[in-house]
């Protein structure tokens, strides 16, 4: 085995053990308390999970996209929220690596080891329509002055560094990196979402935040491109989270159906149950293959927009449906708040919306299919 393979195996051994011992046993408690109990955030930092895909020259472990997604998949099997918290951080690092100038990279990437970075586009006035936003940056001398209000940020309130999309002209979108220790930075209200309740989702308010030119991510006017790029990276990792959710669902239903008996026969022997279990397994494996193909393309420098959209669109719908099937198999236990199935449905449901709705994914897929044949 070469160094790359060996490293990957050691990493995944560790993540599996970490998930089994530190994450999975707390899944229900994380959901119910809406927080990362068991000191999970500190443990995640202590063992350098935040540096998984951070390039080595910035003190990271430098794992590729495929391995990083496998880590998220494994963690999400224990708790989907924690998978999404890491996804939000990783996609932000991805954009700074891809678009940041050297000074920005030198300043922020080494900090990514211990400070979570978030990525923010949505505002009260617009989500999927970026030109509807009102946040803006104005150039004053060699500084930029940023004002505005960003909401529904994944890890908002938890993250300490934010990549924010603002207008630099009426029809010009640009990204800046702001820091919670800057003057004029304030945290706003936290959302009270239905699922993925461990992930803080919140607001930041920017009042005359003054940043240097090197805090501009990419160039002026590159907002749409950077936003799309972040979406793609996020969608791949969401495919991994969704795979983890379906693996969790499969664990629950197979265990239950093997032990639960009707007329002295385990219900796994019954065709109606078998169909549902098989459907969940097929959907899980399909989603896994989709995200793995997307990461392969990404790692080999090829375009992965369509596969990323497929992984998220197919995976989110499938995980919700699979959760519903799992609930039905478990009957009353499935419907109980004391059992995990219902929260897996709520968790999966979030990803039919976040990082572009499933409808928007279909639009993207259809247009790519048409473009490829034009």
């Amino acid at each position: 085995m070469d160094q790359k393979q060996t490293s990957k195996e050691i990493l995944l051994r560790m993540v599996k053990s970490f998930t089994e011992n530190e994450v999975a046993p707390f899944d229900m408690e994380i959901d119910h308390t809406r927080s990362y109990v068991n000191d999970l955030l500190n443990k995640i930092k202590k063992y350098d999970f935040l540096s998984t895909m951070l390039p080595e020259e910035y003190g990271g472990a430098g794992f590729d996209g495929e391995t990083t997604a496998a880590v998220i998949n494994e963690i999400a099997k224990g708790n989907a929220s924690l998978g999404v918290t890491l996804e939000g951080h990783f996609k932000s690092i991805d954009q700074i690596v891809k678009y940041g100038n050297q000074a920005l990279k030198d300043e922020y990437l080494p900090q990514a080891k211990s400070r979570i970075i978030a990525f923010s586009m949505t505002e009260p006035s617009g989500g999927s329509n970026p030109l509807g936003i009102t946040s803006h940056a104005e150039k004053k001398g060699d500084k930029w002055i940023i004002n505005g209000d960003k909401i529904m940020i994944t890890n908002g309130g938890l993250a300490e560094i934010y990549c924010v999309m603002v207008k630099t002209a009426p029809k010009e979108l640009s990204f800046f990196v702001v820091d919670n220790n800057m003057e004029g930075f304030e945290y706003g209200k936290q959302e009270n979402f239905l699922g993925l309740t461990g992930v803080p989702v919140g607001e930041i308010v920017m009042n005359n935040i003054e940043v240097d030119e090197n805090h501009l991510l990419g160039k002026v006017g590159m907002g749409k491109e950077i936003g799309d790029s972040a979406h793609n990276d996020a969608r791949v990792l969401m495919g991994a989270v969704l795979t983890g959710i379906m693996e969790h669902e499969l664990d629950i239903v197979t265990d239950y159906a093997t032990h639960r008996k009707a007329m002295d026969t385990p219900i796994i022997q019954m065709q109606g149950i078998q169909r549902k279990v098989a459907d969940i397994a097929v959907a899980k494996e399909t989603t896994k293959l989709l995200y793995q193909k997307a990461t392969w393309l990404k790692d080999h420098g090829q375009d992965y927009e369509e596969e990323a959209a497929m992984a998220k669109a197919y995976g989110s719908r499938s995980a919700v449906k699979s959760g519903d099937d799992a609930l039905q198999i478990l009957g009353g236990y499935g419907y109980s708040l004391d059992y995990p199935v219902e929260h897996l449905i709520r968790d999966a449901r979030a990803m039919e919306i976040a990082e572009g709705t499933v409808e928007k994914m279909r639009t993207a897929i259809a247009l790519i299919e048409a473009r490829n044949r034009a």
Partner: protein, 265 residues
């Protein structure tokens, strides 16, 4: 202090079944991991090193791909590793394994302390440590729950069935540890890459000056005649007497006979 930690790579789960066709253990799709008790042994060694200085060497016997587990110990903080790999070692039982590991300890030379987990989770024997100790003619303390270093000796706590022991031990010593002795760390994500700067040395049979008849299958007195899945223990419930007082007496007598209750309970 020069410490050698012996580790074993085992299947990631002990929940294995027998393949109906081959009558062998079905290990398809099962990855390997470091035997969980050995991680406690490694942590014990690293803590001793932190307290008094020295070096920690990890040692295993197995095929070349067990090097992954050694690399993992390096990422966890061991200083170097030795892999004992040779076709001649195949089919070894605990005696032949202990023999080869013991020879390797001698070759490493000047070892003050050898630490192992109390047993492996696949074979479940716990025999290799004492076998090595006997072959090396050093004292042993097995099933240690607590170890502290005092000057040139160790103070070790362990429990027998209903006896607690505190043992003061001089070096050299062979120690096996339980899983309550400490809480092993997880591998740090960033340390994995750094571990490649450390060395894993491979020794073959020819490097160790072995008696051929004490190695591998030839050196293994035990023979596995057959393996099987345990019969599902269907509990045949015994109905106790109808009168509660008689039932209680009947139960206590039965439980004492099985040692579930002690005589003085």
């Amino acid at each position: 202090m020069k410490i050698v930690v012996c580790i074993k790579q085992v299947p990631e789960t002990t929940n294995v079944k027998i393949d109906e066709k081959t009558k062998n253990i079905d290990r398809r799709g099962l990855g390997g991991v470091i035997n969980s008790y050995d991680l406690h042994a490694l942590k014990t060694a690293l803590e001793i090193k932190q307290a008094v200085g020295g070096e920690v060497i990890t040692l295993t016997m197995g095929p070349d791909d067990f090097a992954v587990s050694l690399r993992e110990t390096l990422a966890l903080g061991a200083d170097s590793s030795v892999l004992l790999s040779d076709r001649a070692f195949a089919g070894a039982d605990t005696l032949a394994t202990g023999y080869v590991l013991g020879k390797a300890i001698k070759k490493i030379a000047d070892v003050d302390l050898v630490i192992l987990g109390q047993q492996s989770v696949d074979a479940d024997t716990g025999q290799v440590g004492p076998i090595m100790a006997e072959l090396l003619q050093v004292p042993q303390v097995t099933y240690a729950n607590e170890v502290t270093v005092k000057n040139d000796h160790l103070v070790i706590k362990r429990n027998l069935d209903n006896v607690a022991q505190e043992i003061t031990a001089q070096l050299p010593l062979l120690l096996t540890v339980t899983d309550t002795i400490n809480q092993p760390e997880y591998t740090n994500v960033v340390e994995i890459a750094k571990s490649f700067a450390k060395t894993i040395t491979t020794w073959h049979a020819s490097d160790l000056q072995l008696d051929d008849d004490r190695v591998g299958q030839a050196g293994s007195p035990t023979i596995v005649r057959s393996i099987s899945s345990p019969e599902k223990t269907v509990k045949v419930g015994h109905k106790l007497a109808d009168n509660p007082v008689d039932a209680a007496k009947e139960l206590v007598t039965a439980l004492k006979k099985q040692n579930i209750l002690a005589e003085d309970d």
